[in-house]
Amino acid sequence: MIKIALPAGELRRPLSQLLSRVGLEVPGYGDGSRSYRLALGDRAQVRVFRERDIPVQIALGQYHVGICGAVWVEEFLARHPRQEVVKLGALPLAGPTLFLMAAPSTAQTVADLSRLAEPCIVSEFPYLAEALALALRLPRYRIIPVWGGAEVYPPEDADLALALASHEQEVERMGLVPLLAVLEGPPVAIAHRQAMKALDMSWLLSALASLGLSAVSGMRLPPSLAGLGLRARPPAREREVLRVALPDGHQQPHVLGALAEAGLSFPGYAEGERRPLGPRDGIEAKVIRPQDMPQMVALGAFDVAFTGRDCFLEHIYRFPSSPVAVAMDLGKGAFNMSAVVSVDLPAETMEEAVAFWQREGRPLIRIASEFVAIADHYARRRHLWRYRVIPTAGASEGFVPEDADLLIEGTETGRTLAENRLKAIDVLFRSTTCVVVGRHPPGGRRGELLRWFLDALRPVAVAGSATI
């Protein structure tokens, strides 16, 4: 049976309407059913993924046809150019554009980039950013991959952002200059190359073709900035201001609670401001994704950050020498990072699961996780020998058992696990909201402010939780 991967998120409704027009109606898809497993009559299985996971699933051959934003396909192919992904065409739906953007003080045109000794590019699409840097022949550059909100980084924390926006005006509304439209991003249909060669998918491909698929425009690469030699790095700027990174998403309520208990107010934070005010003079704040905080502290962009222990460990397992540490644990937002398998697996422990897979002669263990470094660390520590970590962008529960054998996943009450016929067989660690700081504390005025800030938080923290 043909297996189709469709995107979650904002694309669900318009895509569902479009597919219905050519007889590809997937019950439950357009109305946002919580189920990840759907069907297209008895002709195809449909699974709903986060967009960025779809090219991975098609390349692995676990799904035969998929639809997702062009930018995710190009990002995947920039990293794995020889993967088994065939681009069938772009769907007649509007999509965002990928822009290279800068603060007005940094650059007004692409040519201005030649003034920068070592541009730092922040992006959710690090491999496209890399391709762009290589095409420009930037002699030296840094790329900071982030989970989202790249546009909030320039100019303080990056020179450039490579991020999606609807149009140039939207970039300008962010206070940035759109230097280059790199990629038009309508949803595209892709297929697994081997499935195209061997499997009769003609009814599906004809239906998609009848939508009027257009050629997929690749990345629009600029000409090189000729004649740039290597230049010495500019000296690091010493700043007086203490910079605090506050999280959005599921960590935000926990951090708001802790700050309130500590008597620290960041006006605008609760209202969704990206740049809330600080609790006193000399302290400024920015709201970024919790996953990106440890790296930004390591880079010296922030002095203090609030993030989950899961995000901290993901960073430190990936970069053991990174100069970041947990200053204190706030004990909030607790959940277990667990090893999760199907309820049908006859195993209650990891050892039993491994023994079962051994008996079955599995070629390798497929581990799906949003936390690639944590999953990798766990697999090494438990000597799983041959394994493959499949990176996911979330919603991992739907991966087992068809697309993965094991999940490394945050579990709170166990209800979601039960709903998806899953069970936890091991707990890696308990994750709570932590305060992360640099290993080398600043001196001067900034050092004083840091001590004041941490002292205010200390009564709220779990005693003895610091790692430095």
């Binding site: 150019p81 730092c120 890399e130 391709a131 840097a133 290589l134 095409a135 022949r137 930037l138 002699p139 030296r140 550059y141 840094r142 790329i143 900071i144 991959p145 690469l221 000409p223 090189s224 900035l225 000729a226 004649g227 740039l228 030699g229 290597l230 790296q295 390591a298 880079l299 960073h315 990936r318 970069f319 053991p320 020498s321 990174s322 491994v354 051994q358 002669g361 599995r362 070629p363 390798l364 020998w385 041959r386």
Partner: protein, 418 residues
Amino acid sequence: MFLSRVCSPMEEPLRCPGMHDLLPEEMERFRQIEEVFCHTCRQWGYQEVRTPTIEHLFLFTAAGTLSAQMLGRVYSFLDWDGWSGERVVLRPDSTIPVARLYIEHMGEAPLAKLFYVQNVFRFTEGEREEWQCGVELLGDTQPLGDVELVLLGREVLSRLGLGPLGVRLSHPGLVRAVLGRTGLSAGEQLRLYDAILEGEQEALAQLRERVPDLAPAVDLMLGEEGQGSNYVRNLRSAFAKALPEISRPLDELEALAETLEALGLMPMVTGAMVRNFEYYTGPVFQLLVGDVVVGGGGRYDALVEVLCGRQVPASGFALYMGRLLPLVTRPPVAAPTVWVEAADGSAATVAVAFQTASILREKGMPAQVALTRGVSRGEPRLVVGPQGMMAFRAGASAGHQVGSVEEALTVLSGGSEG
């Protein structure tokens, strides 16, 4: 063993794609090439260096180093302390790391003559790890330096007993001059150039269409090759008026070709030869054994300046181990190994066996203790035990009782017994 059933060599290789094991017989030929290369380089006054396997990616990304196509095939990654966002790379090329080494350690020296034997890593359909015997000459040596490099490379090949030897010359300035007239972007020019090198006639046709007034030059310079300085002079006479940018490259090529001709060599000359390396600025050459290109290199006068801002002309070449290995015959086997066998498994007898093997080696006879039964396969044997020593010549089934290691040596050196 866990998962062993599906990982047997019959079903799926355990090595990574594009990676190659060098087996004992292959390693003997590898070492032979390496030893001849190193010995020859030392005799010519070159000194050996070795650079790290991992380098900063930024060394290779600036314009004037590697082409964008090549950069798209390097093994780059964020290493364990890559939290700063800066990537590192498994060296895809050795010239750039050696130039870096020169800048960091020898920058004051007016002349550095360096050689190395090391591997490079590139993502390709075939072999992804390639061993190279390379030479770099840093300092103002033109035009003598280019001549020396060609002769040094040929001498290595000659000492390896290879032939017939050939040299092919080119100059990146020729193809850059033509492509510069097309109005294409740098990336498009490079793609077209690569297609021409792949022998795609369509690419040549496309180029002719773009520069119709230069069509004869395109055909001759990029599609054909000619002999030595005569060909260079003809190209200049025919095309330099319409394409003056080729005059300087042709002058440099002529100087090199004339000197090689005076040395009795007849180099071939072509306009299209080197790919993926942007750093070449002057004459480039290939070394051939028959029709097989076994090495190549050229002049890269701007590279050091790109890396450190200081002008240091340079040139170099590398011999490709993967191409040479099939051409080189196995070196003659040295004296056969003597197998020393312990007559029983007692600690005292085993100790005597190891001591005896050690004495034999000290006396210049390769010797090893037989760790398992029946491994000697007709080679000379010396059985030691409480009853003394019994020496068996190669192929002999009957032994000679001997009273000392010296006596055993005399017997075992006596050749084989029918």
